[in-house]
């Protein structure tokens, strides 16, 4: 394998310091470091360093996304094919989904990484790996039939306005993937909501219907809702929805990878599910308090957790460390409020049947405020200690 290294070193010569292509070095370095962890040694500080780096961390998240992605591809095909034919083969469904989804992923990575590389060259820093995750997340939370140019536009908006405008990776306030979805949601509502978009070809073929469970519940109002899916369907993911959000079990598999590798904060995941359960339980209790409620409030609390994008958002978006709260206590509060508001928005805002996107974006904005108060408590503790210490000295004198 030594020859690959030698070829690479030869290829990199024009990009070295002082040579004419120097300013394009970040682009070439990004490709090089993808093949090889560089031979850089420690120059100051600790002489040895941990094996972990940002690439490893980000790739771990990508790994965690794979189960939900594969299931999403299969389910995308299955939801469509099962309505037009009686038997659906596994490969047939997977192929139909992949045919729809792989181009979206290609567009997302192509456009997003292009912008990232351009900014890295322009600003003269190395390419950050954050987009490896964002670029996969964006197609995974879109409806299956969304046109590719909309994906591209959403990506541009998310990366330029959502991330680079704030200074790039690590500085953004909002989760970039959700920024992309929010952009598409508000710019092209007909492609992002309603009951025609959640199953492949539903808007083209009359025989295919594709309403999400939340859509059914919201439409039912005070009537008894006609939900034809069992709780097991919801948990396993055999329901219509955004590409990868449907299968709670695959998402939990991803969550397990994130929690075991400590890449995702278990505090946020757990507290968000607690928050959602608490809100849903409060709504479930309304009839006991003499308030009639509606189909959404009376929907069993545990089923609230396994439909829509709630679990996907909690596991993969709320845990984004850059836009989440950064302190341990802050993470508990941040997660809880995300779950709490997600269910609240579902119930109170019929215009948006799913609330997790807005709940996370809302809490992204409030995360610095949560951290501020947690840190302020630490500061106050220190100041109080100083005051009591100086008091002791005075009395001693």
């Amino acid at each position: 394998m030594e020859w690959i290294r030698q070829k690479l070193d030869q290829f990199k010569v024009p990009f070295n310091k002082g040579n004419k292509l120097e300013k394009y070095a970040p682009a070439i370095n990004a490709l090089d470091t993808f093949l090889y962890t560089p031979n850089h040694t420690t120059k100051k500080g600790a002489h040895v360093r941990d094996a972990v780096d940002l690439k490893r961390t980000m790739i771990t998240v990508v790994l965690a996304l794979i189960p939900a992605l594969i299931f999403g591809m299969w389910n995308g095909g299955y939801q469509y094919l099962s309505q037009i034919q009686s038997e659906v083969g596994f490969m047939e469904a997977l192929a139909h989904g992949a045919w729809k989804i792989l181009p979206m992923i290609a567009v997302s990575y192509g456009v997003g990484l292009g912008i990232e590389f351009a900014f890295a060259i322009f600003r003269g820093h190395e390419v950050n790996e954050g987009y490896l995750v964002t670029g996969l997340l964006i197609p995974m939370i879109m409806p299956i039939d969304i046109p590719l140019w909309m994906v591209a536009l959403s990506v541009i908006f998310a990366v330029v306005i959502g991330k680079e405008a704030f200074g790039g990776t690590g500085m953004n306030i909002l989760n970039p993937a959700l920024t992309a979805r929010a952009f598409a949601f508000f710019a092209y509502p007909t492609f992002m909501s309603g009951n025609q978009v959640w199953v492949s070809e539903a808007s083209n073929i009359d025989g295919v219907s594709g309403e999400t469970i939340l859509g059914t519940l919201a439409a039912a109002g005070k009537e008894a809702p006609n939900v034809t899916y069992s709780a097991l369907d919801m948990f396993s993911g055999l329901i219509p929805g955004s590409i990868a959000e449907t299968s709670t079990i695959c998402i939990l598999a991803g969550a397990l990878i994130l929690v075991l590798t400590k890449v995702g904060s278990w505090r946020i995941i757990l507290s968000a599910f607690i928050g959602a359960s608490v809100m849903a339980l409060i709504f479930n209790a309304l009839p006991n308090m003499g308030i009639e409620g509606n189909a959404l409030t009376n929907f069993p609390w545990y089923q609230h957790l396994i439909i829509g994008g709630l679990s996907f958002g909690i596991v993969f978006m709320a845990t984004d460390p850059v836009s989440a709260a950064q302190t341990l206590k802050g993470k508990w509060i941040y997660g809880f409020l995300i779950g709490f508001f997600a269910v609240m928005i579902r119930v109170f805002n019929p215009a948006y049947p799913e609330g997790i996107m807005l709940a996370i974006l809302l809490m992204n904005v409030f995360a610095p405020a949560i951290d501020h108060y947690v840190i302020q408590a630490n500061i106050n503790r220190r100041k109080k200690r100083a005051v009591s210490a100086s008091g002791q000295i005075k009395t001693a004198v």
Partner: protein, 447 residues
Amino acid sequence: MSKDIRIKRGLTLRLKGEAEKQVVEAPRSKTYAIKPPDFYSAVPKMAVKEGATVLAGDVLFFSKYDEKLTFTSPVSGTLKEIKRAEKRRIIEVIVDADPTDSFKDFGKMNATTSTAEAVRDRLFESGCGAFLNQRPYDIVASPEDTPKAIFISAVSTAPLSADIGFVLKDKVAAFQEGINALQKLTSGKIHLSVDDSSEAVLKGITGVELHKVTGPHPAGNVGVQIHKIDPINIGERVWTVGAEDVSIIGNVFLTGQYHPDRTIALCGSEAKDHKYYKIKIGANSSDLVGQVSDDVRIISGDVLTGTKLSNNQYIGFFNNTLTLIPEGNKYRMFGWLPFTYNNIHSHSKTSLSWLFPKKKYALTTNLNGEERALVVTGEMEEVLPMDIYPMQLLKACIAGDIEKMENLGIYEVAPEDFALIDYVNTSKLEAQDIIRLGLDLMITEVG
């Protein structure tokens, strides 16, 4: 009376090449050097010229801002060279050593019965003031100060660091006399922290408040102990002294002579004779390790906080450890794949190395990645057992926001407390460097 300190957060790095518990007399170096950069913030002014003859204990240079703070020759001989770097900054004062030492006679003194003034003067004129460090800021102590307390850590938790109990086992009498002397310098207490090994040796020491410390690194860092025992508030000053240094101070009072004897652990996966060596402070590294190739890094100190030495450079003033590890200037294919390269230790769970908690590693100096923006949160807190938000403090230091740094506890930290953060953080941020710059800013702005 003792108060137990149990540290939970931290990380004990297990490395290959621990020093055997066996003390060997090292050959006497031809030249010895005292390096002014070892005494942070002191501006040296030479007291003798090149070619002058000095006794062990004669002043080589002193602090420009306080003549009382002197730095004395570890051996007798002639001053060979004053090595300077850019802006004529003195970096090494090299002494050609006589075959045997002749000592400057300070006269014996009983620290317990002498006045505080006399003890203080003796300590600083013999050059022992150099062993005193001040917190906050982690700089040399000022001879005019009376610290709130003095802290001594006899706990070794840093990777491959010398076992302080073993180092001190024949120096208990001198150590006690050193404590007696230090008692005269402070208005408060002397806090001595011990682990299992040093407790066995030091439990009879009087005049100190003894603390038993258990837990992973950085439990042995004096800064962590101060934080748990009696944290530094704004406006307060404490001093810290290395454990073996206390016995050197004691020796000055017992013998009237300056004997800077250092027991140094030679360790690391690339070292050949993993033993403890008896040297004089300022000895040349080549006496212990000879000449090493470019593929080996000599570190004066431990792998987390030490300084890199080239061949024939001199061992640092305070270091009890000399570590040799391989340089990591090699490429690794697909190093970013999780769960691969498990032979490189990782605190993160993206490597399987956590499955083998007892395994010892031969780590190289490879950075294992490149510097990136701060993304991952929560990992720094896991290795800093203090009531301090490390990431926020680092950001305040980068921004130079003095009020925020003060609020977040800059006075309670030293670069060495952030050494493990250097090690574990995913973004390869140079935390020790940032804290040092932050402390420097505080010194110039606040004083």
